[in-house]
């Protein structure tokens, strides 16, 4: 398998693992010194334990959480994926001070990942449609647009 196809496959396998909440292959898919760039935050180091905690947190907020990759392609050591997520907030988001409110969410993010020579994800840059998510959760007024 060419490196680009292998890297794309790594992103697919990781998203599938997160959906199944199966973390047994995480160390094959992600470096333990991953640097994650996310909106509104400084880049953070994430190890398998941190990634597991993040995903478990998302599942406790949205127990019916499902993600689906809408588009994915790569070039060189980079892969871009556009992912659609749905779920129902029956668990609450304590870190945003949002209680459980049965709000349905339906939003996208786009992530670029950089892969090492073994295909493992070494660095990520993600943009999430946070205004839409916050509006759907009832935590932000509807916008003038953008």
């Amino acid at each position: 398998m060419a490196d680009v196809e292998r890297n794309v496959d790594v992103v697919r396998r990781l998203e599938d693992a997160y959906n199944r909440r199966d973390y047994s292959e995480l160390s094959e898919l992600v470096r333990d010194d991953l640097v994650a760039h996310t909106p509104s935050a400084h880049p953070s180091k994430q190890d398998a334990e941190g990634l597991t905690a993040n995903n478990e947190g998302a599942h406790s907020t949205f127990p019916d959480r499902r993600t689906e990759i809408q588009d994915i392609f790569g070039e060189g050591d980079l892969v871009v994926s556009r992912v659609h997520q749905t779920g129902t907030n029956t668990g609450g988001l304590p870190w945003f001070d949002i209680p459980a409110n049965d709000a349905k969410v339906d939003f996208e993010w786009i992530q670029i990942s950089r892969h090492d020579a073994d295909g493992r994800i070494a660095e990520t840059w993600a943009q999430i449609d946070l205004p839409k998510l916050m509006q759907q959760l009832g935590a932000m007024p509807a916008p003038g647009g953008m």
Binding site: P39, S40, G74, E75, R82, E108, W109, Q127, L130, G144
Partner: protein, 140 residues
């Protein structure tokens, strides 16, 4: 179908001429007539070429000095993804409906464009870090 290098050049030209030089004519030239915008539009705007051109016109007024820089591009087949950072000053009301704050902003985006055989853009998906921008402008 344009080659990957032609796709990159098309993308660079779009960012340089449309965003950095605010040349609406280049947007009109490079967007296909059947262009589809997949980002939610402002109320009253259509998710097509006409809506996109209207959006650019409004966008040009938001900041007098905004410049977009390309951080990463990924090309495959008919799609190109671009990770950018846009820096500028909120001189014209960068958040729709809000008055100008005259504060600087620095906002990253990731966008995906689809290109047709004639080398025109037919689709756009994208997400900008609007939460960070609102924080920088003191609105969140």
């Amino acid at each position: 179908m344009p080659t990957p290098d032609e796709m990159r050049e098309l993308n660079r030209r779009f960012i340089e001429d449309v965003f950095n030089k605010q040349d609406l004519g280049v947007a009109d030239e490079l967007l296909a007539d059947d262009f589809t915008e997949h980002v939610d539009m402002m109320p009253g705007m259509t998710p097509d070429k006409q809506g996109a051109l209207e959006w650019f016109k409004i966008g040009f007024g938001m900041s007098s000095d905004m410049k977009m820089e390309i951080l990463h591009t990924i090309v495959s087949g008919d799609r190109i993804a671009t990770h950018t950072v846009m820096r500028g000053t909120d001189t014209g009301g960068a958040m729709p409906g809000a008055p100008p704050t005259n504060k600087p902003f620095e906002v990253e985006s990731i966008d995906i464009m689809r290109v047709n055989n004639e080398g025109k853009f037919t689709d756009h998906w994208g997400i900008a870090d609007m939460m960070t921008m609102m924080q920088q402008l003191g609105m969140a």
